[in-house]
């Protein structure tokens, strides 16, 4: 699974999933902590719709962690103050970069969580839909 | 959720930028070098320009003195000292001679500074031409072209109206024959101390995002006309009611009980020093 999709599932989904995947790796491999989870900033680069140019919207507080498994460095970055999750994400990232065998078995779990997230989102959308102004024309 | 303590508050990247700007400022005396002023844990206008310079300069071996309007114990000076001390652990002093770094608002100490000291002045309004030209893009061009007739005209108009120039503090100076510069709101009395100063003088305006400098042994002339020469504030015939000093900048006090006006040294540490030498142990001084 590609990183963009996987990190979204792990960050938006139940953090227990990230914990479970990272624990599995920590259990089997030595994980070196290169940078303990720490706070920092990410500057948001944004496109505006008037002239289609780029500008900086502002910064977002993030928690970042870096670990190394073998020769492979893994990075965990998540908005907000979420030290445990950042550490877990770093381990998961390193495991994927290293192509560890455990990662092959993760797809089903991630996909199940993704389905749960999609359900939640659809309900959310339906609720918002109720605030939509209906302009139905009266026809005989 | 705690942040790592950082020596002298600023991160090293911020210090580098301030240092680059300071080096340029020294190389181009009197020119206001723009810099990306950082947000400090102190309000803009309360000395953040000076504080950023101090943080970019300070090292473990420094001894810091901070004064506000001449007083070491002014609440603003105390507040700045507290911040620098808390982030560096360096000693502070009230004795001008002991300090290696002196950050000041609106005064240059009475004791002549030496080549081993750096004076940092806090600047609220760094643009000397702003009084008659509101646009930054225009004042920048006027400086580029050495077009200072507006500054002269302002003084000339004062003479026409009042028979003399009526500038208070922050009387503009000409640096090394090239740039007209705001010396920061020091009284006119202090302007001559900048001329051929032994110490390097750095000026920082945090809100207006400018750093400028007067290197040592640099000519500083207060703008004036030949038939209306520049004059500092006049304290002739007056002396400090505590230490008896004359020829220093004095604060004026109205004494309720006697209905008299009395004077005392504005530079409180200079006064305390004199008193100590005169044998007074307990020094009392009014501060705000």
């Amino acid at each position: 699974m590609k990183r963009r999709r996987m990190t979204e599932i792990l960050i938006e989904g139940n953090p227990e999933l990230a914990d479970r995947l990272a624990s599995e790796i920590r259990h089997h491999y030595p994980v070196r902590e290169l940078a303990a989870p720490r706070q920092g900033l990410t500057m948001i680069k944004m496109r505006e719709t008037a002239k289609q140019s780029l500008f900086y919207l502002g910064e977002v507080l993030v928690t970042e962690a870096k670990v190394e498994i073998g020769d492979h460095i893994g990075v965990g970055i998540v908005a907000g103050v979420r030290e445990k999750l950042a550490g877990d994400l770093a381990v998961i990232d390193a495991a994927c970069r290293a192509g560890l065998s455990e990662t092959a078995g993760w797809t089903a779990m991630l996909e199940a969580e993704e389905i749960r997230l999609a359900d939640r989102k659809r309900r959310e959308l339906a609720a918002l839909e109720k605030t939509k102004v209906q302009f139905d024309t009266m026809e005989e | 959720m705690k942040a790592e303590p950082q020596f002298a508050f600023l991160d090293e990247g911020s210090k580098k930028e301030i240092r680059r700007a300071s080096l340029k400022a020294v190389a181009i005396p009197g020119y206001q070098v723009p810099f990306a002023s950082r947000e400090m844990p102190m309000a803009r206008g309360w000395g953040t320009g000076g504080l950023q310079l101090t943080c970019s300069l300070v090292g473990k071996d420094d001894v810091l003195k901070v004064i506000d309007q001449g007083a070491d114990e002014s609440v603003n000076a105390v507040s700045i000292k507290k911040l620098v001390q808390a982030t560096t652990g360096i000693p502070v002093t009230e004795r001008t001679e002991e300090a290696t770094l002196i950050q000041s608002r609106h005064r240059i100490p009475e004791v002549p500074l030496t080549k081993d000291q750096i004076l940092v002045l806090q600047v609220p309004m760094p643009e000397p031409l702003r009084k008659y030209e509101k646009k930054e893009s225009v004042t920048k061009r006027l400086h580029a072209e050495s077009e200072y007739s507006g500054a002269w005209l302002m003084l000339f108009e004062q003479i026409m109206k009042y028979g003399r120039t009526t500038t208070g503090a922050d009387h503009p100076v000409l640096v090394n024959g090239r740039y007209v510069m705001a010396p920061s709101p020091i009284p006119r009395f202090d302007n001559p101390k900048m001329d051929h100063s032994e110490a390097l003088i750095l000026l920082g305006a945090g809100r207006e995002k400018k750093i400028y400098a007067v290197p040592p042994y640099t000519e500083i002339r207060s703008l004036a006309f030949e038939d209306h020469p520049f004059k500092g504030e006049d304290f002739s015939g007056k002396s400090c009611r505590f230490c008896g000093a004359t020829g220093v900048f004095l604060d004026e006090f109205y004494i309720e009980e006697t209905g008299m006006t009395e004077y005392q040294c504005n530079d409180t540490s200079h006064c305390a020093d004199r008193l100590e030498r005169q044998g007074e142990k307990e020094v009392q001084h009014a501060t705000i």
Binding site: T42, L54, F55, I77, L128 | P124
Partner: protein, 369 residues
């Protein structure tokens, strides 16, 4: 006039800080940061927007520390920001990726995708609700359960939460100029010195972090006549922008890190502007003013869109079109700092002025009489 010992300043400061703490605590009850976080959404939004730092947790903490003072809370976040390393830059956020919670257009009765009211105070009558005085936890839980119960009974909605932009619909009709995506790296006013004339990216960055009141006042001044922009709101949308960070050595967007999302309010204002047609005749064309800010703060985003459009037309001599006037006066930390510095002692400068004033009264010839 009393005498104060030389150590007076230090002691007074300590006592003053104690007094401040006393003011915060003396009422007996304290609001927890978690309560601020869950109940002061719009206050947090405004603090984050003016601080230019998105962190609801830190904003809530700052609000508590600042006893609810907007300017102090923003100041705390700004100063804290100076102590944190900037670790990453995001990939370009494309605004149409916003997961929309609310979108309305004033330009059309109906818009493709529909007018979505979402959560807004706009249609509440501004009558003080005294029932909140007696609101009980049990009641609140009951209401929540019932509301969420109703939601789960709803049929699933179609779509993914994104909507087409009203402006794109009009661009397709040729009423607006179309622009190719301009990927010039933006300038950053927090890292580099900005000079006049400012770049478009610098203008937008300064406006989006401007003080809500200041941006609103200047936008309003333009509407009233101290400017020449009176727009129609093309679209206001509120929602979440997904943020991604490129991976080192990553190949494409799929390789990047998703890090979370930020809520923002985005506005496109439509302004008719005179232009020359192909045959040299004067005609009108719409231009767009752009506004955006962190959180839900529609007034600020709309006012920003007015000022953006004003600053695109410096040829007008109205103050809201003067970029130095607008950009140098909307930052809260700068304006409140300089206003508040007037509280500092100025007796040296006053003494100096006193000397000048007295001298002018001594005689007009420049000599003491």
């Amino acid at each position: 006039m009393g005498y104060v010992a030389v150590k007076g300043g230090t002691e007074a400061i300590e006592a003053s800080i104690d007094r401040l703490k006393y003011e915060r605590l003396k009422g007996g009850e304290q609001v927890e940061v978690s309560a601020i976080l869950s109940s002061m959404r719009l206050l947090i939004d405004q603090v984050m927007s003016e601080a230019s730092l998105y962190s609801p947790e830190l904003a809530a903490l700052a609000i508590k520390q600042a006893e609810g003072s907007m300017e102090e809370a923003v100041f705390l976040l700004r100063a804290h920001r100076s102590t944190l390393p900037r670790l990453y830059y995001s990939e370009t956020v494309e605004p149409e990726r916003m997961a929309v919670e609310r979108r309305i257009s004033a330009s059309f009765k109906d818009i493709p995708g529909g007018q979505l009211l979402g959560a807004t105070h706009d249609y509440t009558h501004r009558l003080i609700d005294f029932s909140l005085l007696e609101e009980q936890e049990e009641e609140r839980q009951q209401w929540l359960q019932q509301y969420e119960g109703e939601l789960s009974a709803l049929e699933d909605a179609a779509g993914d939460g994104t909507y087409p932009k009203v402006v794109e619909y009009l661009r397709n009709e040729g009423l607006f100029e179309t622009f190719e995506p301009d990927n010039t790296e933006p300038d950053d006013v927090t890292k580099n010195v900005f000079q006049f004339p400012a770049s478009r990216s610098e203008r937008l960055q300064i406006l989006t972090r401007g003080q809500t009141g200041a941006v609103t006042a200047l936008g309003y001044a333009s509407l009233r006549g101290y400017g020449q922009v009176h727009p129609t709101v093309g679209e206001v949308r509120v929602g979440y922008l997904p943020i991604t960070v490129p991976a080192h050595g990553g190949e494409d967007g799929d390789d990047s890190y998703y890090i979370g999302s930020v809520r923002a309010t985005e506005v496109e204002s439509f302004v008719p502007m005179p232009t020359k047609g192909p045959d040299g005749k004067q005609e009108l064309r719409f231009e767009i003013g752009y506004g955006i800010c962190y959180g839900q703060n529609e007034t600020k985003a709309i006012a920003m869109s007015i000022l953006d459009q004003c600053l695109e037309h410096p040829e007008s001599d109205a103050p809201s079109h003067d970029e130095e006037f607008v950009l140098l006066h909307v930052d809260t930390v700068e304006s409140t700092g300089f206003i508040s510095h007037l509280k500092m002692p100025h007796y040296v400068t006053f003494q100096s002025k006193l000397d000048s004033v007295r001298n002018t009264r001594k005689g007009r010839d420049g000599h003491e009489s």
